[in-house]
Symmetry: C2
DNA sequence: TCGCCAAAAATTGTCGACAATGATGTCGAC
DNA sequence: GTCGACATCATTGTCGACAATTTTTGGCGA
């Protein structure tokens, strides 16, 4: 749904600024002067200010008292730290999901796995990336752990850029596909421990890949 | 209202409101009308509004569009969910800490463990609760995982109330003390896996205790 | 030429007032 | 007597202006 398609002008100013940052309209480290954003988004400073506070708590904007806001540049090191936390929290979700998964959801995940295999075989990188996203989302939803879900949404928003770069790395899908399939297998086997381990293995592999890009 | 403790008047309004909520001056579910907070904290609505946005993202205030803010009542179920996430994230911190801990920090934790034993033996519940807090903080700091630390600070702030009630439960220190000592042992042995398991065992026990209070 | 101090500019923080929105209470019709 | 539409009210959302703070610039002297 969030596919780069015709964005339907999100009503809130915060959403629009976030979209602009994530789309790369504002470069990391760039200063976000309130007055500039005012005329850029047709709003007043009070509104802009509130939006900036929101985005600060989402971790994509950095605000220093009396010195203004800027787009937060997430270093490789921080991207790794984010993924480490994702690893354990998503592991928790997977364990929960394995306990709660229904037959319908099992069928759904199996189908998802098949489509991921197809995408890799035919080399449709973007489709695979999309399905990857969907899988992680479904695990989160099936796990039905609202607090964990909230944390994950927050963390995911922070390193979309690094995640994107990683997805485009040649050979990466071939590595991650079997990991994803293993996750699906464990979930469908209703094994909480197995699912948690599989998720952690997968994200540990993502961390290793991130480390490689650093060097 | 603010008489409760020797609070050194935190400069920021957000901090003062948070302190007031955590101190129980505002009951869970109570409406937080901006105008009221204005004269109560001697600030204007713009400032109050910014503070409420902050607190909303910290999870201790609930805000509905055009309908105002209220103190968020965390149910036992949500407290359990929060503790589940804390369990895995703090487990990550502990694993990291076990890899990075210095000799000086080992000595510090050992001393902390001894003081916890003393507090339990002499029945000083409040002291023990304080030391408990300190131990978790130290693990978080030694782990040096900024993202995890940020998540933990956020989560901790949410269920101080439940944590407090739990600490006062008779017999609870006797249960948690050996768990804490086990965590210290594993950290001092520089065993990442052991430390993570010990932390998770401990917080799993906290979750069990929370479940008991629910019934 | 370099370092330092002061004035100026730029930017954020705060304020009070107005507009918009959802909730509450009242009145009339059936 | 109850239901629904309408007026009223309380509260939030937004705006433009002023005050405080930080950064930059210009000037002065060693």
């Amino acid at each position: 749904m969030s596919a780069s398609s015709p964005d339907t002008e999100p009503a809130g100013v915060a959403e629009r600024i976030r979209a602009a940052i994530l789309a790369g309209d504002f470069a990391p480290g760039q200063r976000l002067v309130e007055a500039e954003l005012c005329e850029l988004f047709h709003a007043t400073r009070g509104t802009i200010r509130a939006a900036l506070i929101d985005l600060t708590h989402e971790g994509i904007v950095e605000r220093i008292a009396n010195r203004g806001a800027r787009v937060r540049a997430v270093s490789i090191e921080e991207a790794i730290a984010i993924t480490e936390v994702r690893m354990v929290v998503e592991g928790l979700c997977a364990a929960k999901a394995a306990e709660r998964i229904t037959e319908a959801e099992i069928a759904e995940l199996r189908d998802l796995g098949r489509r991921m295999q197809d995408a890799v075989r035919t080399g449709e990188v973007m489709t695979y990336s999309q399905l990857n996203h969907t899988l992680h989302d479904r695990i989160r939803d099936i796990g039905a752990q609202p607090v964990a879900a909230e944390v994950l949404v927050n963390l995911r928003a922070r390193n979309v850029r690094h995640a994107f770069k990683l997805a485009l790395r040649p050979g990466r899908p071939q590595v991650s596909l079997p990991e994803h399939l293993a996750i699906i297998d464990e979930l469908c086997a209703r094994s909480p421990d197995g699912a948690e381990r599989a998720v952690r293995r997968h994200l540990a592999s993502v961390i290793t890949a991130l480390r490689d890009t650093a060097g």
